[in-house]
């Protein structure tokens, strides 16, 4: 039978190979099956595999699709990738940036710096085409497999049916050799915005549609624009209502043009139409078109990201506009949040931990949707009065500094602080808010390196100027102590203690703070570990 690709591949990374499961008399059972080998599915598989949790990834293609697509990867994503062993390669290949400029017509009206402080291992952002991102994660998977990590990626294994049997999930798969079935304790659907798994389960995905079209033109040329994010409202070159320019690796430039709602899509996608717009912007035609696409977008999410033994992560669960780089980045953070919880639940921790995935990542999705919707309302005013105020802001911004922070060309991805999470313990330390319970740990220099890589994959007791035992075992988890002499690490002191003389932090496996105290208080910290492992959620 034929098994045609729906899109051309950039890299063929996991060619179809027959597996013994296909010849088994009854469906072979796996602890975790992941549907979709995109950035989210692969990150989740790598994280689970490094924790020793056997995982099988199913994808209906044999590699990464063509096209730059997700481009801007944020600091938090890179920190997660560092923990998983793929961060350095990404930064080496990517274009590092942290500054943005906003223009109206020819005038610069606003600029921003996304990382205005020193002392972080990873930059605010890199630009890296999605195929390279996925390739680097896949390469880390291959290295992990060589080290014994139980990860399997099965290309051309399409999921055609999903059945929750109560004590497990049955998957109907189609391959070039025909159908077979597997069973899984848990299934994670990382199968994108049009999620077939979500469709098969008949689950809703409601939200706002934004009536606008954007053209992406990836252009190959040598140019000396700085490595910054440049955005134009009503640009002088008239190639769109707005325009956005980003540098990519390999002398490729991403140009986005806002086309409006009523367009002739086919006509706009013709090379001569695209070249006319790019010529107007650049003032020359000395470039090649590398990849082009027209997209519209919606802001929406599923009501719940957990449906029994089936979980949703990334675009399958939530979708935002691209302005703000909150799509792939939030998906990778979903994977970061879910992997240690899924591993713990398979090891006997309560399923409440999986409910906390839903609670925390719904909170993050709502934050992303809020920011994304606000940016989009500024970029694409929906009514006369919203256009009136948008233009009033732009009119004022050139001469009046106060109006500049109102300009919204995209508020770029920052990780969610899980305020109010059931896994948090009450804040018992008078220290900076940025490292409060629920917050992702801020990085800072430590010795010759940095703090975050020293945290590892498990729970950490970060002892700052106080004593703590080497390890503390509670609720099926073991926390390992990391003692820091804060007189030698002034930025750790600044970011974690402020004016407090000492502090003890309990840090989760995903590097979010679970609780903090003025000193090691065994009773309080054991209770906090129980809570962070899904017991006695308060």
């Amino acid at each position: 039978m034929t098994f045609a690709d729906r899109y051309p591949l950039a890299f063929r990374l996991y060619p179809y190979a027959r597996v013994p499961d296909q010849d088994a008399a009854t469906p072979v059972r796996h602890p975790v099956a992941i549907v979709g080998a995109g950035p989210v599915g692969l990150s989740l598989a790598l994280d689970l595999g490094l924790r020793g949790t056997p995982v099988v990834v199913l994808d209906d293609h044999e590699g990464v699709g063509l096209g730059s697509r997700a481009l801007c990867f944020a600091k938090r994503t890179l920190e997660i990738m560092d923990r998983l062993g793929a961060g350095r390669a990404m930064v080496e290949k990517g274009i590092v940036w942290q500054k943005g400029r906003v223009f109206r017509d020819r005038d610069e009206i606003f600029d921003f710096d996304l990382l205005p402080e020193a002392g972080h291992e990873y930059p605010a952002f890199i630009n890296l085409q999605q195929p390279h991102f996925e390739r680097f994660v896949m390469e880390a998977i291959v290295r992990a497999q060589a080290g014994g990590a139980p990860i399997e990626v099965r290309g051309k294994n399409r999921v055609d049916g999903v059945t929750d049997t109560g004590d497990g999930v049955l998957l109907d798969l189609m391959t070039p050799d025909g159908p077979y079935r597997i069973a899984a304790d848990y299934v994670v659907a990382c199968d994108g915005a049009r999620s077939p798994v979500r469709g098969m389960l008949g689950l809703g995905f409601e939200g706002r549609v934004f009536e606008d079209n954007f053209l992406i033109a990836d252009v190959k040329m040598t140019a000396d624009f700085p490595t910054e994010r440049w955005f134009w409202f009503e640009p002088w070159f008239k190639s769109g209502d707005s325009a956005l320019l980003h540098k990519q690796p390999d002398d490729i430039w991403r140009i986005d043009f806002q086309l409006g709602w009523d367009i002739d899509r086919e006509k706009e996608l013709r090379p001569e139409s695209i070249r006319a717009r790019v010529d107007q912007m650049l003032g020359h035609s000395d470039y090649e078109l590398d990849w082009c696409s027209i997209y519209t977008f919606q802001c929406r999410r599923m009501q719940s990201f957990r449906h029994g033994r089936i979980l949703f992560a990334g675009d399958s669960a939530h979708q935002v506009s691209p302005f703000g780089a909150r799509g792939a980045n939030s998906g990778v953070q979903d994977a970061d949040n879910l992997s240690w919880k899924l591993a713990a639940v398979l090891g006997g921790a309560p399923e409440a931990l999986l409910d906390s995935y839903d609670a925390e990542r719904v909170q993050a999705a709502d934050e992303n949707i809020l920011n994304s919707s606000r940016s989009t309302d500024f970029l694409t005013p929906k009514t006369e009065v919203s256009r009136l105020f948008r233009n009033a802001v732009l009119d004022l911004a050139r001469d009046h500094a106060f109006a500049r922070p109102l300009i919204n060309s995209g508020r770029l991805s920052v990780p969610c602080v899980y305020d109010g999470s059931p896994l948090n313990s009450p804040d018992a330390l008078d220290a900076p808010a940025r490292s409060r319970p629920g917050a992702p740990c801020p990085d800072a220099p430590l010795g010759d390196g940095f703090l975050l890589p020293a945290l590892g994959h498990g729970f950490t007791l970060l002892a700052l100027g106080c004593d703590a035992p080497d390890t503390l075992a509670e609720a099926g988890a073991t926390a390992r102590r990391l003692s820091v002499d804060v007189t030698e690490a002034p930025l750790i002191r600044e970011r974690y203690l402020g004016a407090a003389p000492a502090g003890l932090y309990l840090i989760r496996p995903d590097q979010h703070v679970a609780g903090r105290w003025p000193a090691f208080d065994e009773t309080a910290i054991r209770a906090a570990m129980r809570r962070a492992m899904g017991h006695d959620a308060c």
């Binding site: 009136l388 105020f389 233009n391 009033a392 802001v393 009119d395 004022l396 009046h400 106060f402 109006a403 109102l406």
Partner: protein, 68 residues
């Protein structure tokens, strides 16, 4: 707290100046000026609670829309 008591020393003079600044403008230009003026005044006030109270006061004092 939003100041509800009269606070402008020269009410008639201010009113005349407010109308005067719109003189010779088309309705669209006047709308734009008003929008800029609101943003300038809002920034001057700055206090989010006061701004929210002012927005609510402005909305609730409008004449009800004629239906049909």
């Amino acid at each position: 707290m939003l100041t509800e008591r009269p606070n402008i020393p020269d009410p008639d003079g201010f009113y005349a100046e407010l109308l005067g600044v719109h003189e010779g403008l088309s309705p669209d230009e006047s709308h734009s000026l008003n929008a800029r003026l609101i943003l300038i005044l809002a920034n001057h006030i700055g206090d989010r609670a006061v701004l929210s109270a002012a927005l609510a006061a402005a909305r609730s004092s409008g004449r009800p829309a004629v239906s049909g």
